[in-house]
Symmetry: C2
């Protein structure tokens, strides 16, 4: 293990996509975080045996890519499946007996947009993280020993608490292995430690909970804050996320 | 006091200047926050009797405005007075026997830039906030009963903890009077409550502490987290901040 602080790689937390351009991401592993629900659903679909997931940043691209690949198209706006697509963004829609050996083409409001933004900004190594695959993300980042950018998808470029909490959970597990000079990371880690023992109650106070609860998605959200129930490692390679486990 | 939640005005926290354009600020009171050290110094200079403070967003503008007004010019880069200007950004440079009845023209790395950005974005009511004038800010916001934007200056567009802590301190005092659907505000308030009883120790862990401590500015920073020691209310009117108390 690398224990010399001078040679520990850096770690930064990007609180919203609108701040991404402030950070050097080319030589870092970029972790895309969209707890409610894109990256939780991605972890789940890959854990349940999806061949690959193609993240796209618009409904139009989703329809086109679905036709080109024969994949299942998925995307929601305002809690409803987008016209022209077939499924939604809920992890519960992708059990093993449905998604195994299939390709999922998915667009979401925040997470898939941030992933494409990171690629446009020069990211060469992209994975996705969520509580359902927390330990896989942690193990991968420890093993790689490279600079890390924890990228929170937020809500329409604004800060959100649930993505920051996940960043804080990752930091809690790996902070001894990285050099951290980043107030966003300190704050994320403190927020997580403050609430890690009452996550179920705390998560009901955040704005996104109320937004999705209005669509009856409470169980989805409780799933999305459950640690290690879909232990896959979505790694972006050749235009798609595959399971690196 | 307005106690009907339906008619309570909104409150949002903008974590860095780079996020300002996501918020409607035209009909809000915008509170510019730059704890280390612009807004702490502004509160101090006005409390000590400065006639007005002209915040400018570049060294060139500072020199020009200093000539035009006969005011004292102030600004630092990397802990040193900017060539062509006369004083620095430390509150300790502006005691009563020096600054009373004078005009201060000041430029800073983050705070004065955010103030000008807010003006360009259409803000009509701008005040500045810092721990030295916390209670004045709180009293003003409660009395006005208008929507509030707490604007953190951050560090070169990145999030910082000390400005967020101040936003959280304001929120703690006024949250019953506002409608808050804003994760940034929830987080800021929680961060403040987590650390309010050990501010002196906590503040030594943030990145800006280390940056300014390298210039020997520890006493400045301890001053800047001291509540209500310069109880003025800097309000922007006709191109300058004046004391609204």
């Amino acid at each position: 293990m690398n224990s010399d602080p001078k040679t520990k790689p850096s770690l930064h937390t990007v609180l919203t996509p609108q701040l991404l351009d402030l950070y050097e991401i080319n030589d870092s592993i970029v972790v895309i975080i969209d707890v409610f629900r894109a990256t939780s659903t991605m972890a789940t679909a890959l854990y349940n045996g999806a061949t690959k997931i193609i993240p796209v940043d618009s409904a139009e691209a989703c329809i086109e890519m679905g036709k080109a690949t024969g994949g299942i198209t998925a995307g929601e706006r305002d809690g409803k499946i987008i016209p022209g697509l077939s499924y939604g963004n809920s992890p519960s829609e992708y059990p093993k007996d449905f998604i195994q050996n299939k390709t999922l083409v998915i667009t979401t409001t925040n997470g898939t947009k941030l992933l494409h933004m990171a690629l446009r900004n020069g990211a060469k190594e992209v994975i996705t993280g969520s509580f359902p695959n927390l330990s896989q993300v942690v193990a991968y980042l420890k093993a790689q020993n490279k600079p890390v950018i924890l990228g929170c998808s937020g809500w329409k470029n604004r800060f959100n608490i649930e993505d920051t909490l996940f960043a804080g959970a990752v930091i809690e597990e790996i902070k001894d292995h990285f050099t951290i000079h980043c107030d966003s990371s300190f704050m994320a880690n403190q927020l997580y430690n403050q609430h890690k023992n009452n996550m179920t109650e705390y998560i009901k106070t955040v704005t996104h909970w109320h937004r999705l609860a209005a669509y009856g998605l409470e169980l989805d959200m409780l799933y999305c804050i459950s640690k290690d129930i879909a232990p896959s490692l979505p790694i972006f390679k050749d235009g798609a996320l595959i399971n690196g486990v």
